[in-house]
């Protein structure tokens, strides 16, 4: 058997002190990494908390773009996108698509005519097992340049200080372009008449390994008919969901997917800045929406349209937003899936 060397008492004290220091330092490093010592760090929790106004109960719903309706359909690639990206989704063929039309509000019960921005979440699956998820909006530019500025925008718009928004706009001159669109662009009465834009820049990798900075948009086949928000309000609080349901019931709706390629020097890291109109734009395929289903029992409800779920052949760029969106969307997903008891199911036995 072993005969241990018993150290003297003073050495024992020193050893115990050393052990305490090692454990304390390890715990402190862990706490620092977890952000517990950095209260000003912008976390997904903070971002998601800031999305919800005090008078809204979002339980069970997405924390932004809370009101929406599911669709299923087909993305038919024409093969032209293969020149830019090796992703299978651009090879000529038909791929199943699942998505969600939505309005950009944290309030799941907001009347449609009160929400300026509309969105489309999309997931295209390919036979190689890969997925392309994207969440797009109808604004031509994003309101701000950085996730931190977006957080400040949320705080300013939720602030009781009447000058908060003016101060924010003063500190963020990039906000003006979005503001101009929001106040002057015509409204439509249908999701089918909206153009949806990725706004964020991504990198396409082609078969030779060359990289192309791109943004993409879905251009509606339907002719937009402008309607004033007041007239839209008269059609009812859920007019967009009713309209798209009837419209798709009478015939599938189509959008052309257009990929725009940046020139060297174009602002890929800043979605508040549009690229010049003359940039190379390639039609890569057509999204056909074939069926509409209510969210509560629809296939889009438990899908997170995380814009960083990308097939090989597409990856994120220096644009900081997809990371921030991925982080915040995951937090929103974690919260709402933990709140199923608060989700207003109406179909008996649909889900627990």
């Amino acid at each position: 058997m072993l005969q241990p060397h018993r150290p003297p008492a003073r050495s024992v004290f020193g050893s115990l002190l050393l052990i305490a220091v090692v454990l304390g330092a390890s715990a402190a490093a862990f706490a620092y990494t977890a952000g517990w010592l950095s209260p000003q760090r912008l976390t997904a929790n903070k971002m998601v908390d800031a999305l919800t106004p005090p008078d809204v109960n979002p339980a069970g719903h997405r924390r932004n773009h809370a009101k929406g309706i599911c669709f299923t359909g087909i993305f038919e690639a024409n093969g032209a996108g293969s020149a830019l990206s090796q992703a299978q989704v651009f090879s000529r063929g038909q791929y199943p698509a699942l998505g969600r039309f939505n309005i950009a509000t944290p309030d799941p019960n907001a009347p449609d005519a009160t929400v300026r921005v509309r969105g489309l979440g999309l997931r295209i699956s390919t036979p190689d097992g890969q997925q392309w998820r994207t969440a797009m909006i109808d604004a031509p530019v994003f309101p701000v340049s950085t996730p931190q500025a977006f957080y400040e925008l949320l705080l300013a718009s939720g602030s009781k200080d009447p000058n908060a928004m003016k101060a924010f706009a003063g500190a963020h001159p990039e906000f003006a372009a979005f503001g101009a669109w929001a106040t002057s662009a015509p409204w439509t009465g249908s999701y089918a008449e909206e153009r949806f834009n990725s706004l964020n820049s991504f990198i396409f990798v082609d078969n030779s390994g060359a990289e192309h900075a791109v943004r993409w948009s879905l251009l509606p086949a339907a002719q937009p008919v402008s309607v004033s928000p007041d007239d839209l309000a008269k059609r009812g609080p859920d007019v967009l969901e009713q309209e798209i349901t009837e419209r798709v019931h009478s015939g599938p709706q189509h959008w052309t997917m257009v990929v725009t390629v940046a020139n060297p020097g174009d602002p890929t890291a800043d979605p508040s800045k549009a690229w010049p109109e003359d940039r190379r734009a390639i039609e890569v395929g057509t999204l056909t929406v074939q069926q509409i289903e209510p969210e509560r029992d629809g296939p889009c409800r438990d899908i997170n349209f995380d814009p960083t779920v990308l097939p090989a052949g597409i990856h994120t760029s220096d644009d900081p937003f997809p990371a921030a969106r991925s982080s915040a969307y995951a937090k929103s997903y974690d919260r709402r899936t933990a709140e199923v008891q608060d989700y207003p199911y109406t179909t008996t036995g649909a889900k627990p």
């Binding site: 241990p4 050893s15 090692v22 490093a29 990494t33 760090r41 997904a44 994120t316 199923v340």
Partner: protein, 187 residues
């Protein structure tokens, strides 16, 4: 010297220290990634998933090696509560090393997130889409991560206690290099 081993075998020691680095990195990456919305979030997540699968693989290999070679006996003069703590903590380590990656994989599966490893390799979903299962596994993954880190602190504290205070050869049994000066054979 008889046939009783005083140290873990070389494969066991290699696995122990390799996994120690992987698991500590994993826990720090985990708490770091969920505390930021910056671009490093994506980098950390893209390491977290394949590293978790690597730990799962290494843990299964390690379990097989452990069943084949066993462990050196604890010192006979070690008090019973410490022996019990040593044995239970080792069970806890194996449960967590194998369980945490499976819970993470299951949690992503239940949310229909793709599980992408290095090089774009996709793992299949091991569970169907389910909000309630996702929530259960998310909570387990979250709280067990902190339990895992606490267990590691306990483990490091105990190892250093054996090395510096008891000097009974337990630390040397897993030490990466031989430090036989610390232990003398019985007369």
């Amino acid at each position: 010297m008889n046939g009783v081993r005083r140290r873990f075998t070389v494969p066991q020691r290699i696995l122990h220290w390799l996994m120690a680095v992987c698991i500590l990195a994993m826990l720090f990456i985990g708490v770091g990634m969920v505390s930021t919305v910056m671009p490093k979030y994506l980098t950390l997540v893209s390491i977290h998933k394949p590293l978790g699968i690597a730990i799962l693989f290494l843990a299964l290999v390690r379990l097989a090696v452990r069943l084949a070679y066993g462990a050196p006996p604890l010192p006979v003069d070690l008090p019973e509560p410490m022996k019990l703590a040593a044995h239970l903590s080792h069970y806890a380590f194996y449960v967590l090393m194998i369980g945490m990656p499976l819970i993470g994989w299951g949690m992503l599966s239940a949310a229909a997130y793709p599980v992408v490893l290095f090089g774009g390799v996709h793992l299949p979903a091991i569970l169907p889409l389910s909000d309630s299962v996702h929530t259960l596994l998310w909570n387990a993954h979250f709280y067990l991560a902190f339990a895992f880190f606490a267990l590691i602190l306990l483990h490091v504290g105990a190892a250093l206690f054996h090395a510096l205070v008891r000097r009974d050869g337990v630390f040397e049994a897993m030490a990466p290099v031989s430090t036989h000066d610390a232990v003398v054979p019985a007369e």
